[in-house]
Point group: C2
Chain length 383, copies 2
């Protein structure tokens, strides 16, 4: 397969590129380093600095013999993106090229506008490049479980049949998200669905939960191939933040009551899911929605696991809830379906104590880089 990965320098993009290349596919990547620029601007750089995408590809070639093609440019520039599609003729385009931080999208007008413009325009341009240049290309779009929010009913995989006043019809599952970033993913889905049903495009929209993990078979080939690890309040997910706080001896910053429950998955399972989606594409005119996570935890459960494993490893781990900077339900019903990827063949890697221990070890090996100024939330979006 010819696989085009948009956002190839990201936490998911880079491991995905190595994974497809190691399986013998022709891999093309695009990135404009937006995440690196925002990380620099907001003092949110990763714990472990990583080479740029060109250097990563060169390093990977030297250890694996596999080539990853790199184009540096902006998916919001349609002439550029179209020329990439023309040159690559992809069978599959994996679209990760979005501003991925919820807190960043909630800072101020400028960051909100950048998030809205960047994410919608990138998705719009991918749709048009496929429609104009590669109509048989399967789009795999990274959505988020956050599109659904935390409704009081069971969350289905993308679609729901609604019975109403004696009649029924099938609709996209209702979505209402907790940040502007998550809301842009809702808008992406709406845009994709419009163009899918109008022009018969083939799209898989992956509703992914937060991903954790730093090790993949390919990343393990050389320490400089490690995925990005952010532990700050802008780009760091809760797992990364807690692991880093445990190593640094800073009490784990549970936001509010800590009952916020989400579906999580291991980075290796993201790679499996995307590969499974690529190998059995959506049909023309189908918007296939897959809920991509393997197990669900509350924030309190994660904090307790980090405390348990960290304490056993000799770290002093306390848990100190802080005022929640976000507007979100801190205790809620949560029962999302996630069977379709299992049916396609996903073999989950769970968040065991061993996996947690490995993350703590990796972070401990770079503890000298931990900057306590990055720990506490800097963005509030409560009234």
């Amino acid at each position: 397969m010819r696989v085009l990965i948009l956002g190839g320098d990201g936490y998911l993009g880079w491991p995905t590129a190595m994974h497809f290349a190691s399986q013998g596919h022709d891999v093309f990547t695009v990135d404009n380093y937006l995440r690196r620029r925002i990380a620099l601007d907001t003092n949110s750089e990763p714990l472990i600095s990583t080479p740029n995408l060109q250097e990563r590809a060169r390093l990977f070639k030297s250890v694996s013999g596999r080539t990853i093609d790199v184009s540096i440019g902006d998916c919001c520039d349609y002439d550029f993106l179209r020329s990439v599609f023309e040159r690559c003729s992809p069978d599959c385009a994996i679209h990760y090229a979005e501003q991925p931080s919820a807190p960043y999208s909630m800072c101020d007008y400028r960051t909100a506008r950048l998030t809205l413009d960047n994410n919608l325009t990138a998705t719009f341009n991918v749709i048009w490049a496929v429609k104009d240049v590669a109509p048989r290309c399967h789009i795999i779009k990274l959505g988020t479980m956050g599109e659904y929010g935390t409704p009081k009913i069971d969350i289905e995989e993308g679609w729901i049949t609604i019975e109403h006043k004696g009649r029924s019809d099938r609709f996209l599952f209702p979505r209402q998200a907790g940040s502007l970033y998550h809301t842009t993913k809702i808008l992406d889905t709406d845009l994709l669905w419009f163009y899918v049903r109008t022009y018969g495009l083939m799209v898989t929209d992956l509703m992914q939960g937060p991903v954790y993990g730093l090790r993949t078979p390919e990343a393990d080939l050389d320490p400089r191939l490690i995925p990005n690890f952010h532990y700050d309040d802008i780009f760091g997910t809760v797992v990364n933040r807690f692991v880093t706080q445990a190593v640094a001896g800073i009490p784990l910053t549970v936001y509010g009551k800590g009952g916020q429950t989400r579906g999580y998955l291991n980075l290796n399972d993201t790679l499996q899911c995307v590969a499974l989606a690529a190998s059995s594409p959506a049909e023309p005119g189908q918007l296939r929605v897959l809920n991509q996570f393997t197990e669900q935890f509350s924030v309190n459960q994660l904090a307790e696991q980090v405390q348990r494993v960290g304490t056993r490893m000799g770290f002093r781990v306390e848990i100190t809830p802080i005022d929640n900077p976000r507007k979100e339900a801190e205790e809620h019903y949560y029962n999302p379906a996630h069977s379709e990827l299992l049916k396609l063949g996903l073999k989950p890697h769970y968040l065991t104590e061993d996996v947690m221990g490995e993350m703590l070890e990796t972070v401990a090996a770079h503890r000298q880089n931990i900057d306590p100024a990055k720990i506490m939330p800097r963005v509030r979006w409560k009234n």
Copy 2:
């Protein structure tokens, strides 16, 4: 009340401005003439040319004694829009400032991108201007009944309670539209709802059907105050197109089977609805959705009424279905609720034979302006 009308030069914007001014409110208008530019670019200029917004305001002042403030500028320019809100301190902002043509949004990449960028950015900027400068300002947003599409279940007014596997919750009514233009209105609603529930904004989202009519009490004060009348395939609604075709002796161009059913309303009822919404604002944190139409017709019913009235007036009116240039259901279930505006006090003006006759007379008085090149659809969005 201090009323700010965004898109004040439009088919609805200009009559709305005159209506609020004549009731003694302080009226401020903004427009960047986007519709005039697109009409020029696409050879879609109105049947009756109208003075620019500054001249319209001057004329209206001379016949009514009422002042309408005019700012020429782009709602997508946040510095400009924010300065307008600062200067006006509106109690109510009526947001019509969008690219309103479905066919234009479906021409090509450039027109689609313009529609997406313009409509989303204008809405985003209105939200931020209110949040930053005028948090007690009630936003009245013009949505469209087209957001709902033509589902197989009854359409409620914006919200629906879904019972699912023994639990229930309330959600925005599912929406899937027939053009990119209509889809941008769905995205607008999603954006508004996110910011409403996060920051407690006050928003009324009017799901309006196609509007017809050229006469309002204020427009009747001087012929140069007439609302815009487009009869082309880009900006002309089906009523305008049929009325013009009847006068020109061109067979009425029913698209496909003609069973496409929508809710319609008289321009005077739009003015009533907006005034009713303004005088009883949404609550803080409420996204109030009102379905704004008074009666529903199929395309065939409209064609038959135009034929009946036109023939009686001496026009030779034939009906000749043509291949449908749009991807849409030509026969479908349609049962949308529309009781909330009636409860607020709306007194409907129906599409009687007299009203149809008046439109035919007005168009006949300008028949020398009818350009047959504007009659047939120039944009297709079928596969």
